[in-house]
Amino acid sequence: MSWKIKDMTGLNNLTMNLKEKLITSFLAFENSVSTNTETDFHDIRSKAFQHFEQHGFPTKKDEEWKYTSLKSILNRDYNLFPKTEIAIEFKEVKKYFLNEIESYKIVFIDGIYSSFLSDTTHDKYDICLLSAALKKPKYKMVIDHYFNTIASKKESITSLNTAFSKEGAYINIPKNTVLPKPIQIVYFSTGTEAEIMLQPRNLVIAGENSHVQIVERHQSINNNLVLTNSVTEIFVGKRAIVDYYKIQNDQKTASLIDNTYVQQQQQSVASVNTFSFGGNLTRNNLEFYHEGEHITSNLNGITIIGDKQLVDNHTLVNHKYPNCESHELYKGIYADKSTGVFNGKVIVEKEAQKTNAFQQNNNILIDDGATINAKPQLEIFADDVKCSHGCTIGQLDDNALFYMRSRGIPKKEANALLLFAFANDALDKIKIPELKSRITRLIAKKLGVDLGFDL
């Protein structure tokens, strides 16, 4: 580690080093994965790689990264390709799964699929691995049709993932299928490698009239450094319903850049719920694109952080067709010297008449050292629309605290109850009861209280 301290040329140089390391690794990586010459992967990866090579990691000079600096997490000697395959006993990681309900599981350890911890299927639908889907000819048509079609070509960090995309969850649910149980996608990092960079890639296709629930989690099981740069593409077919939950409660040594792109066909309903309680730096790029009328998009988030943690929620809803709606609700609770960023962009294109787009972002700063940067961005080109946004930043209400304390509820518990009340409407959006009570318990733990009941 000492050479880093002696290096007086500064952080940029080291950042460059990670970039350089990625550049030198790319060729070897390409050779190792190019098994199927029929596909255009070589092209996709090369193009994406060129884009990353040109633009590098985003810096605070980029408008979209103004409040979030990656410097501190890039300044590391990450291992990009862990060599050893690690086995973990289920009992060691049981607590990270939602065990109260039956579910499909797609589990990775240091980026490598763990068949032992997983429960996948090919029966009536595919809930399996992207690596398998990329290689096998029978998936070629689907992959060609969907893969990398909605992931951003402008965000260099997404391009970086595309360039190195190899493994992740592949979920293809055919039309008229209601999935009988949710899918859990879990990425563990073990820290066998002292510093590791992971780049998972997920592809989710929900066919016409299908109904899918997914819970995604990135979890390191010790305190070694990990940087995850994840990309997920979600395709929601006609009248399909997709509920997606992201549980971000990782160690303080783990950072996550999550890029999620959702494309919806007519009359579909897609909801992405993001719960950010842990981690060092968490950036969520979440983008919704409409490809039909009568679509509903729901974006919900609860962030509760402290220390010097940072959570940045960057959302985009692109209304392109008439008669669609989007509902966005983000709640943030920031303690100590933590930083929150909320950037909510809504574009209503000229053709998208009768759009209903609602955005709400409420924040509570617990301590003087905490910061929130909130920026609603509404770009409306249609004239017959209902759009609203509301952003609040506040503190806990002293009168409310006094009310509860006067009923015998101690200060700490009273504080916690008020914060629960504050986050409640976003919590209420969780459709899986067992998950709701799990998240409730996580919040209680985060707030340091035992409430004695499930909210």
């Binding site: 002293d398 409310a400 006094f402 006067s406 009923r407 518990e413 009340a421 409430l451 009941f453």
Partner: protein
């Protein structure tokens, strides 16, 4: 039970209470009346321990213990209850869960085990019946979307559940129609005993038709300017407050 001696209190350097003396014994009902701005609500908030108010002189002794420096929750655990004029809303926390937490925290502070769920439910059911509260009401989020009357009734429900030694009802009659007023008064009367005491803070005499006080005190400009029996309330109703200033 409660001894208030020469109590002075201020908020943000503004003197509000200027030497209050009041003695309340178990089994008594006291009414504190007075015009707006006389310090009525401040007095109740100071007894309940609101931290924004600074006691600059005098003392409040409750069951032989000086309350000075005790947090609001500690006072609650010792048996002081204050019904709020404007109860706050807590979305996502049901009336039942809130009261369960309040009762169990109080029991914990007094070295008792949590009340078994079965007993808790029984008590909730009985109290709800006493106050003519619909069971559905109990699963609603605390005070969220409640009408003024529902909020006040919910305050009395909490009081009945917590069984305080001293209950302070701050403007409980405001916002209540006559039927709700009767139900609330009926509830208070049923809970009244030789072991507890009630202080009713009110602007008007009408609640006192239903909860008959043993003593009536008139507060003006931060001081008690007159004390008397229940007939004083009627006198105030007829003559107003001006003759006392």
């Amino acid at each position: 039970m409660l001894e208030i001696k020469n109590l002075h209190a201020k908020v943000e350097d503004k003197d509000i209470l200027r030497g209050i003396n009041l003695s309340v014994n178990a089994g008594e009902v006291h009414a504190i009346m007075g015009p707006n701005g006389s310090g009525k609500s401040t007095l109740s908030a100071v007894i309940a321990g609101k931290e924004e108010y600074e006691v600059s002189d005098g003392e409040i002794v409750f069951n032989n213990e000086d309350l000075d420096d005790l947090a609001p929750e500690d006072r609650a655990h010792k048996g002081i209850f204050m019904s709020f004029q404007y109860p706050i809303e807590i979305p996502g926390v049901s009336v039942t869960n809130f009261i369960k937490t309040a009762i169990n925290e109080t029991r914990k502070a007094n070295g008792k085990d949590e009340l078994p769920a079965k007993d808790m439910l029984k008590k909730i059911r009985e109290t709800a019946e006493l106050l003519e509260i619909d069971r559905k009401f109990l699963s609603r989020s605390l005070n969220e979307g409640f009408s003024g009357g529902e909020k006040k009734r919910n305050e009395i429900f909490q009081m009945a559940m917590l069984e305080p030694k001293l209950a302070i009802l701050d403007e409980t009659d405001s916002g209540l129609d006559i039927d709700a007023l009767k139900i609330v008064a009926n509830g208070v009367n049923k809970l009244k005993s030789e072991d507890n005491a009630v202080i009713i803070i009110t602007h008007y005499q009408r609640l006192l038709d239903y909860i008959v006080p043993d003593f009536v005190h008139v507060l003006h400009n931060g001081k008690i300017v007159k004390s008397g029996g229940k007939e004083l309330a009627h006198e105030l109703e007829d003559k107003g407050y001006d003759w006392l200033k």
